[in-house]
Symmetry: C2
Subunit: 329 residues, 2 copies
């Protein structure tokens, strides 16, 4: 197979969006298809949509050879079996042989990966971390995911559950997290947490600006709260200060633990970087002895929403290069 | 060189004690010399004592070949140069070529390593972790050190500062740590923290039992506070509950991050295991989604005070096995 004519398929299988791309060995996004994930229609329908889109892209790439398919999924993956162990966003997919099913339908090697791990790999391949040996990523969305790249490879841990960074306790008596714990970083720096704080402020009459914004748009979003903060509203600014300080505690801990060259913030909330960066950096500086003694970068994602898609597409190339074929290890 | 007749030298160079041992490739402690570290007499004197003891052991091991010398040091090591970057317990050693000096004097390869990293390696080689691929260790002494073994090797990070686990923030507005930060685990679970909490209780008249114990022995120690707790004193028990809960937050975070099979507690405070185990486990169970979903062991050190000595002795064997010679990587 000529490397120059190879391509791989990356899939970002989210609870809402299903995106499929053909990607070159150099990390160029060649072709892309964006669909809705028809979760309510059932697993078979989603897989049929995915397989149809991949065949469509294969047709467009005629003449080039498919190195394999990487699929990023919001959940815990059983790396040995290629099944999803748990995914709140994909009900009914638990313990279903996704990998084997798609391999059978497409006759191509398939690698399943957690979506935050895929995003970490994407940033390492062609994003913010393309010149470093390792990085941590926090994906700040509805929840907070995490991914860790050490010596160029995803750190999975013994059960594939490594990098569960969103549930780091940063305040032992702090806000209640969806996982049942008090004070997870997810309860402070996810879009859900930002909305919770804004609604609490509106409910006690603390922020007329946020109340007006909510009334105008019908439903608040983290982005609207960010815009309100940038317009100078004190309460919205305080919310993003808490986001930044909380992320600073979490990242300060990660810097002390790993001493990696780079920590990346991705996901929708990371687009509010301007509103929390100063607080985050202040906190890391105060809290991390390793940060103060080293050259450590803390940056927003460079690939944005494409990080997971590109990282998923890199999986088959990486497996081929390491001689492992399509077998996850 | 016949492997059966090889041995290595491990050195545990502490601020108070200097221990040197000859160790077999199977991890048997063959010969040991224990000295005081004459820090006040200066660096040259300490090195002369160390070199003298190593020559003594070489004499006793006549007929066997020396694979190399590993030295565990309480400080940050520059792995490339073999110099100590910073060590509060060894003033005057900063930026001094310890490794090259001892290699020159003894004509044998020398590897310098942080003492907690050496303890982690020792536990992995022949201690609590000899059947697992990786582990984290927390050494609970005057301060708290940390070491991380991933796929059988010490995780150093880009500057050799990885595994700085003692300064993980576990309570952002908590107790003041010696590093200047608020709420480091070191401010809750080191011997220093235990003494601080006991003295605070005595000063406000909360614990007659601890006051009596302090008067009897002249100076409180963490061990006496542990004994007082085991005798049923409520305040001493509360102190160890806080130790356990704080360690539970820290270890819960590490379990979520790494998903390793084993987390080890070492150092003097770990001998108080009975007084804090239940609180630690309760906290990890509540806080760590990964702990709840996996088989993860949390245990006291198996090698006790010998962990660092044995880990240091393993360094030359490991370097030889990985083909890296004595060069740190």
């Amino acid at each position: 197979m000529s490397q120059a004519k190879a391509f791989s398929i990356g899939v970002d299988l989210g609870g809402t969006n299903l995106r499929i791309a053909a990607v070159s060995p150099q990390g160029e996004l060649l072709e892309k298809i964006a669909l809705d994930t028809e979760v309510k229609e059932g697993r078979e329908r989603v897989i049929a949509d995915m397989v149809g889109a991949i065949r469509d892209l294969q047709g467009r790439m005629r003449g080039a050879s498919l190195a394999g398919i990487g699929i990023g999924v919001p959940g815990v993956i059983n790396l040995a079996t290629g099944m999803i162990r748990q995914s709140p966003n994909l009900p009914g997919w638990n313990e279903f042989p996704v990998r084997d099913d798609i391999e059978r339908l497409l006759k191509a090697p398939v690698i399943l990966e957690n979506d935050a791990n895929a995003a970490a790999l994407g940033e390492h391949w062609v994003g913010a971390g393309k010149e470093v040996s390792g990085l941590c990523i926090l994906t700040l969305g509805t929840g907070i995911g995490g991914g860790i790249i050490l010596d160029g490879k995803i750190w999975h841990g013994q059960d594939g559950m490594g990098g569960e960074l969103g549930h780091m306790t940063i305040d032992p008596n702090g806000a209640l997290c969806g996982c049942g714990n008090l004070g997870c970083i997810e309860a402070y720096a996810s879009a859900t947490a930002i909305l919770r704080m804004a609604h609490a402020a509106i409910n006690v009459g603390r922020s007329p600006a946020l109340r007006r914004a909510a009334e105008e748009v019908g439903e608040l979003t983290a982005e609207i709260i960010y815009i309100t903060a940038q317009q100078g509203d004190r309460v919205a600014r305080e919310i993003f200060e808490l986001v930044g300080r909380s992320l600073g505690v979490a990242i300060g801990n990660l810097v002390n633990i790993f001493n990696l060259p780079l920590y990346v913030l991705a996901g929708g909330v990371a687009r509010g970087w301007d509103a929390f960066e100063a607080h985050l950096m202040d906190e890391v500086q105060k809290r991390s002895v390793v940060y103060r003694a080293t050259q450590t970068r803390i940056e927003p994602s460079k690939l944005g929403a494409e990080a997971g898609l590109l990282g998923a597409a890199y999986l088959p190339f990486q497996a081929a290069a390491s001689g492992a074929g399509a077998a996850a290890h």
